[in-house]
Every structure is written in structure tokens, then in C-alpha cells.
């Protein structure tokens, strides 16, 4: 067996876009990418979304999403898979190379039991008999520390949690004993506390089976934990390639340095002023009176300051936002705005009250009407709240565009013509247009790439400095929290488990959950993962 499993020689990937009602046109996705991978080695592919990471990863299965065209050479186990027949290609897929996708939830067929899907490829390629395959699957379930390894295979995808599914999918990839696994952001969709387990499981699995892997992610800290070497991609071109150590400690390229030094925004915590702009008094809320999602939440936000609401999915932090905005009237408790109680239901609030309290969403592109131009989107609040129209309106819109560092040229564009970051900025401008005294930011950066996210955060901070607007900043990303918050509310299962000024909240002693949360945030240093896992073992062992 050769000492190179995979060799890619100046890979080029082109695609065709078909804009509505226009002639299709070709665009280049990836160019001049070359890499070699020895058996059992793990290479991290890192870059922003659109950098072509996944595309490169999938090219090792000679798979182009949406009819992408691959050119260049892809040598696997000593043959160029560009030239093999469809039959041979099918034989390669699921036998020599397997794939673990970002969202396992979507990647499992909802109407087939997990076990049948896990062993499908193995049996299909006659690697093992059905019964052997099932045995191996069960072993893998165990190895990936899934609960009830014996029986979990008989469940349906929707009966298993996201983190578990991700591990089942890893098992599915490992089952046919492939030579190479492509991990495509396997933990991105997970909460930090879950991510760490999956990460650990994957790492051990790789180490034990000695399979080679391409590990694709945008999170440098994560990739640093699992891989031996790192390839940095940007706009479909190679930026830098090297050992993990070198990349994180001595990055050569400017772009790489930027990646490494993300999350470093200086922000001094401000002391709480006496009268809060918003005060939540033991809010309790539930959907249709059934599942209670918020219990006795009490918190306050001071003018010109930021309260970060932290928690994992399902912790009730978004519900809190819905309560404040009046979309979900609470069962008990009240919301005071400027010491005046806000009507619980949206319908009862005055236009003025609505104006002073604006909201920014996580998904910028569904937060804007795709059929309206930037001018309309930003202009609407102006004419609604202040009756500004015509040329005056346009002038204000341009001002706002400048404020969000975008400029006049964007004024007549449609959302579809904006990048992710720009969309989010327009949303910000829209809320600014109302001259609000407080803005609720619901996961505004989590859909964005680190660098872009930083840009947005900086913008928000600047605006806060200029306009003195307060933020209720909902997020699951503690790095962000540290970056911008003055006070922090940690939520868990609908309750506030920890609340106070940033400095207090982030300094020990911690309650268990906060501890878990903080310790789960990947850190950009080698061996961090092992360390954490080690500690937890010891704790659970009772030292």
C-alpha cells in the first residue's frame, strides 16, 4: 500500500448559475487546489462559507452538488477517479470513501429505521453480511458512546436527538471500513455542550479505526482539536497549508492571522445606571398553556448597555424575546419599558412603544421581503413613524446606509443581490431608522462567518456608542458574549441560572451549568479537547 491515500492535483470546479429569466452563466468555484493525504492522517479544511470547502471535500467522491463540474486529477488508492466508469464510481462511494454531513437530521431518511440506513452501504457493497454489519454497527454505536447501542438502531431519525444523530451518522460512515471519511461541519449545528461530546467521539473513532479523514469546518478552534494538518481555503483558492501547530501558532498569511485572531474585540463593561430602560419582572410564559418555556425570569437592561442572554437551543432565550416584543403575552409577570408597563399583547401597544423597541433577526435573508428594495425596506419605518417621504426619505436612507458602512450604491438593490453580512447590516439600518431606544438582537451573528460576524459586532458597538441604544443580545456563542455584553443572563431550561454584570458572571465560582457551558467553548490550543474530556471523566469518577 502506498503512503499516499489521496492525492488531488490542481483541482478546478466550475458551476453554472441560472438567474431567473436570464441566460445561464458559468462561474468558477474552486481553482488550483492540490493536496495529498497519507492513510490514517486527518486534514482540516477551513475557510468561510463559499470558500469551496465542502465542494473540495465532495470532490473526493467525484460528486458535484447541483451539477458542478470537476476537472483536474483526483488520485485515490493509486487510480485517478476522474476516469473511472459510473459503475466503478458507485463501487467507490460508500466503500472507499464515506461522507458525514453537517445536518444529520436532514441526511437521514425519515421513513427508514436508523440501523437499515447505517448498514445500507456496507451490505450493498457486500463488505459484510447483514448480520455482521449489524453487529459492527452496534459496536460502533457503543464506541461512539451512544445510549442503548443495542436498540438505538431500531429507532427512526426523529426519535433521536441531534447530537446522537450526528454520532449515528459517523457510525454510518465508519461501518463499511472506508479508507477515507469526509466530515463536513459535523458539529456546527450542535450546541457547544453537545459538540464537545461528538467531537471527542469522532476523534477517538478516527484514532481507533485508523481511517484517514478530511475535516471541514469554519471553526479553527474545532479543527485544531481533531486534525494533524490544516488547509486554509478562501474564495476557492488555497491560502495556506501546514501542520496544525504552525497554523495556529505561526500563521504566515494575513488571512490566516485574521482567522486566528477573531473574537478579539475590546469592550469595557459599563456599570449599571440606576433606572433601567427595560425591566422584566418574574416572567412566566408557555405555548398554548402547555409546555412551560419560561419560569420566573427577572432581568433588566440599562440605557446604552447590552444584556447578553446566553443559552443553548431550547433554553427559552428566543421565547424571552417574543415576550418582550409582545408576540407571546406572558402568563405571569410584566414587562416595564422606561418604568411604564408595556401592554402584554402586541396589538395593544402604541405605535410609539413599537418604535422604541426594535428587533433584528438571525436569518437576515428571511427577515427582509425579497420583493422590496433596500430603499423600501429601510424607508418604511421612516414614513411609518415619522411620516418622512419622497426625497427626504431617500436622503435619510442614504445616511443610514452610510452609518452601516454600505453607501448609496446599494439603495436600489434587492436582498437577493446582497451578501450575508450586507443583509444583516440592512436589517440593522432598518431598526435604526426607527430611532429605537432598545434593539433585540436574536442570534444576529450566528449565521455569519467569523470575520463578517466581527464586522457586525463592531458596527453594533459603534452604533451603541453613537446612538446610546440598548441591546438585548440573544446568543449561544459565549465568545460573542464576552465581546459585547455589559451584563449577562445565562438561561437553562427556561430559567435564569446565572445573572449579573459580565465580570461577575464570568468569574468563578460557577454553578454546574455555567461551568459546563464555559468549559465547552472550544479553545484554540492543542490538546484542549483531551484536557476537557479528561477533567469530566475525573469529575464523573468523583475525584
Amino acid at each position: 500500500m502506498t503512503d499516499t491515500l489521496l492525492e488531488v492535483r490542481n483541482l478546478r470546479i466550475d458551476g453554472t448559475v441560472r438567474p431567473p429569466g436570464e441566460r445561464p452563466k458559468d462561474i468558477n468555484i474552486v481553482e488550483g487546489v492540490s493536496l495529498t493525504l497519507a492513510p490514517g492522517r486527518v486534514m482540516g479544511l477551513i475557510g468561510e462559507s463559499g470558500a469551496g470547502k465542502s465542494t473540495v471535500g465532495l470532490s473526493t467522491l467525484r460528486y458535484g452538488r447541483g451539477g458542478l463540474r470537476l476537472s483536474g486529477e483526483i488520485w485515490l488508492n493509486g487510480r485517478n477517479i476522474q476516469t473511472i466508469s459510473p459503475g466503478q464510481l458507485r463501487d467507490l462511494r460508500g466503500r472507499e470513501v464515506t461522507y458525514v454531513s453537517q445536518s444529520a437530521a436532514a441526511s437521514f431518511n425519515p421513513s427508514i429505521r436508523l440501523m437499515d440506513q447505517v448498514i445500507e452501504a456496507t451490505v450493498l457493497h457486500r463488505i459484510m453480511s447483514r448480520s455482521e454489519a449489524q453487529k459492527r454497527a452496534v459496536e460502533l454505536f457503543g464506541a461512539l458512546s451512544l445510549p442503548e447501542p443495542e436498540s438505538i438502531g431500531s429507532r427512526y431519525p426523529h426519535q433521536v436527538s441531534g447530537g446522537q444523530l450526528q454520532r449515528v451518522m459517523t457510525a454510518m460512515a465508519l461501518c463499511p471500513k472506508p479508507d477515507l471519511i469526509v466530515f463536513d461541519e459535523p458539529t456546527t449545528a450542535l450546541d457547544v455542550t453537545t459538540q464537545i461530546d461528538v467531537l471527542a467521539a469522532i476523534k477517538t473513532a478516527i484514532r481507533h479505526t485508523g481511517v484517514a479523514a478530511l475535516y471541514i469546518t469554519h471553526d479553527l478552534a474545532v479543527v485544531a482539536q481533531v486534525s494533524d494538518e490544516i488547509l486554509v481555503l478562501r474564495h476557492g483558492k488555497m491560502v495556506e497549508h501546514g501542520a496544525v501547530q504552525q497554523i495556529i501558532e505561526a500563521p504566515r498569511e494575513e488571512y490566516t492571522r485574521a482567522l486566528v485572531s477573531a473574537h478579539s474585540i475590546p469592550h469595557e463593561e459599563q456599570a449599571a445606571t440606576d433606572n433601567p430602560i427595560l425591566r422584566l419582572e418574574d416572567i412566566t410564559a408557555s405555548y398554548e398553556g402547555k409546555i412551560q418555556v419560561l419560569t420566573d425570569v427577572t432581568a433588566e437592561i440599562h440605557p446604552g448597555q447590552t444584556l447578553a442572554v446566553v443559552g443553548e437551543s431550547g433554553s427559552g432565550k428566543s421565547t424571552l424575546a417574543r415576550v418582550v416584543t409582545g408576540l407571546l403575552p406572558p402568563e405571569r409577570g410584566r414587562v416595564l419599558f422606561d418604568d411604564q408597563p408595556l401592554p402584554p399583547a402586541l396589538a395593544d401597544r402604541s405605535l410609539e412603544q413599537l418604535r422604541e423597541l426594535q428587533m433584528i433577526y438571525q436569518m437576515a435573508d428571511v427577515a427582509m421581503n425579497p420583493r422590496q428594495t433596500v430603499a423600501t425596506i429601510i424607508g418604511r419605518p421612516l414614513e411609518m413613524y415619522f411620516g418622512i417621504r419622497g426625497a427626504e426619505k431617500r436622503r435619510r436612507v442614504i445616511e443610514l446606509l452610510d452609518q452601516i458602512e454600505m453607501g448609496e450604491s446599494f439603495i436600489d438593490r434587492y436582498p437577493a443581490e446582497l451578501s450575508g453580512g450586507q443583509k444583516q447590516r440592512v436589517c440593522i439600518a432598518r431598526s435604526l431608522a426607527a430611532k429605537p431606544r432598545m434593539i433585540i438582537c436574536d442570534e444576529v451573528t450566528s449565521a455569519l462567518d467569523p470575520l463578517v460576524a466581527n464586522g457586525i459586532l463592531k458596527l453594533l458597538l459603534n452604533l451603541q456608542a453613537d446612538e446610546g441604544v440598548a441591546y438585548m443580545f440573544i446568543t449561544h456563542d459565549l465568545a460573542t458574549v464576552e465581546a459585547i455584553s455589559d451584563s449577562i443572563a445565562v438561561m437553562y431550561q427556561g430559567r435564569l441560572v446565572r445573572y449579573g454584570p459580565k465580570s461577575e458572571v464570568l468569574t468563578p465560582p460557577f454553578d454546574d451549568y455555567t461551568d459546563l457551558l464555559l468549559s465547552s467553548v472550544p479553545e484554540l490550543r492543542l490538546g484542549w479537547l483531551e484536557g476537557v474530556v479528561q477533567n469530566r471523566k475525573m469529575e464523573s469518577a468523583g475525584y
Binding site: R18, P19, R371, M384
Partner: protein, 273 residues
């Protein structure tokens, strides 16, 4: 958008539809004879005097085709338009209002739909005086249920979008939400549906006329002309095939256009995701 960008199939569709509409609009100037007057012998073959031959009463088929286009398109279009305005507005309203209103409206539409439309039409038309107006009304009533369902479905999808919520938080009125937020995003789907509904109307009308409940003689839509001349079919006389073919061609061309619009909208979705 320039013609170059339109796919060939859609282009054909557009052209044919355009021709049909043009003919309908300018019937009196185009028709060589009066559609009612007997100008030749029964079922004369096509000649340079009668380009399409004559019909079952020796009337010029071409002229009748031209006037038939007018009646067919007018009635179908009117009925479609009516059913669309009613159906779409009702559907949006139901979706946005939600709750009991929605339930009540949707259930009663279900009820209306649970009565087979052709039968319904037959019953109603066989007892009401068969005037064009009543014809249009009946067709519209029967059809708006389907439009309602579609409109509601689309509106419900759009209604959950963040930008609609944003509009609510902004304090927008219902009218703005319906007409400025939802309508523009539901429109393309509806327009495509419009085309299909129009076809169904044309075919439905022709079925009614065929059963003798549609347009009353001497006026006659294409379906009615098939009925008038069908006796000839089994003797290989083409007089009935021509209007039937015309119906098909019109339907197909509108279909092509509708398909194209549908595809564009789905592209747009694809473009955004």
C-alpha cells in the same frame, strides 16, 4: 426582460396566446363572413372561398372560429378573473386572520368542493336561464374554491416569514401586510396558477357547451362548435376537429407560458436559498 431570454417553448406559447387574443379582439375585422349567415352548402371542404370549409349549417367555419375565439376567451377570462379576485383575497384573508375565521372559511370551501363541479354546474345551469353572465358566475363560483386553497396555502407559508413578523412588530395594518408583504411573494405562484385555471375554464366551458348548457346558439364558443359539427366526425368530416384542435392549441400555449412562469418562480426560490 428581452425576448432573447425567454425559452423557446414559452415564446411559442406567448405568440400563440397573443394571436388568439388578437383574433378575439378584432374578430369583426378579420372574419370574412358573418358567423350566423349560411353562405354555402353543409360541410363543404376547405376551399379558397371558405378557408376552413363550412359547418353543419353551411356557415363559414373560419368566421365562426374567429368569433368563437372571442366568446371562448372572453367567458373563460372573465370567469377566471372573477374566481381569482374572490379566491385570492379570501385565501389571503383566511391565512392572515387565522384562527376561527380561517377554520370557518376553509371548512365551507371544503363543503363547496365536496359537491362535484360538473354535476353542480349541470344542475344549476339546467334550471337557471342560460345567459352568459350566469354562465360566468357559475364557473367562477365553482372555481374559486381551488384558487382559495392555493392562495391560502401560499399565504400561510409567507405569513410565517420573519419579514411578516417584522412588519407586525413595526405595527403595520392588515392591508399593508396582505398587499405589500404577502401578495408580492405569492403573486408569481398565483400567476402561474392563473394560466392553468384559465385552461380549465376553457375546457370546462367547452364541456358545458358540449352538453348543451354553455353558450346558446347562434353564438357559439369552440366547444359548442365541436358539438354542432360532431355528427360529421365519424364520417371523417374535419369541421368538428378544427375547433377542438383550437381549444387544445390555446390550452397548450397558455400551459407553456404558465409552466415557464412557474419555473421562473422556483428558480427564484433556488436563487435565494
Amino acid at each position: 426582460m428581452t425576448l432573447r431570454r425567454i425559452p423557446i417553448s414559452a415564446l411559442i406559447g406567448l405568440i400563440l396566446t397573443g394571436v388568439a387574443i388578437f383574433v378575439a379582439a378584432f374578430a369583426p375585422f378579420l372574419a370574412p363572413y358573418s358567423p350566423a349567415e349560411t353562405v354555402g352548402d353543409v360541410w363543404e371542404p376547405a376551399s379558397d372561398q371558405f378557408w376552413l370549409g363550412t359547418d353543419n349549417l353551411g356557415r363559414d367555419l373560419l368566421s365562426r372560429m374567429i368569433y368563437g375565439a372571442r366568446i371562448t376567451i372572453f367567458i373563460a377570462a372573465a370567469a377566471t378573473a372573477l374566481s381569482f379576485c374572490v379566491g385570492a383575497v379570501a385565501g389571503f384573508a383566511a391565512a392572515v386572520a387565522g384562527g376561527l375565521t380561517d377554520q370557518a372559511m376553509s371548512r365551507s370551501v371544503d363543503l363547496l368542493m365536496s359537491i362535484p363541479s360538473l354535476i353542480f354546474a349541470l344542475v344549476v345551469l339546467s334550471v337557471l336561464p342560460s345567459t352568459v353572465l350566469i354562465l360566468i358566475l357559475v364557473m367562477a363560483v365553482l372555481d374559486f374554491t381551488r384558487v382559495y386553497r392555493l392562495a391560502r396555502a401560499v399565504a400561510v407559508d409567507v405569513n410565517v416569514m420573519d419579514y411578516v413578523e417584522a412588519a407586525r412588530l413595526r405595527g403595520e395594518r392588515l392591508t399593508w401586510i396582505v398587499f405589500r408583504e404577502i401578495l408580492p411573494n405569492a403573486l408569481s405562484t398565483l400567476v402561474a396558477e392563473l394560466g392553468l385555471r384559465f385552461i380549465f375554464m376553457v375546457l370546462f366551458l367547452s364541456s358545458l357547451s358540449f352538453l348543451g348548457l354553455g353558450v346558446q346558439p347562434p353564438e357559439s364558443d369552440w366547444g359548442g362548435m365541436v358539438k354542432e359539427n360532431k355528427d360529421g366526425i365519424i364520417f371523417g368530416i374535419p369541421a368538428a376537429l378544427i375547433p377542438a384542435a383550437a381549444i387544445s392549441v390555446l390550452a397548450i400555449s397558455v400551459n407553456l407560458v404558465a409552466d415557464w412562469i412557474l419555473r421562473r418562480t422556483s428558480d427564484l426560490k433556488g436563487g435565494r436559498s
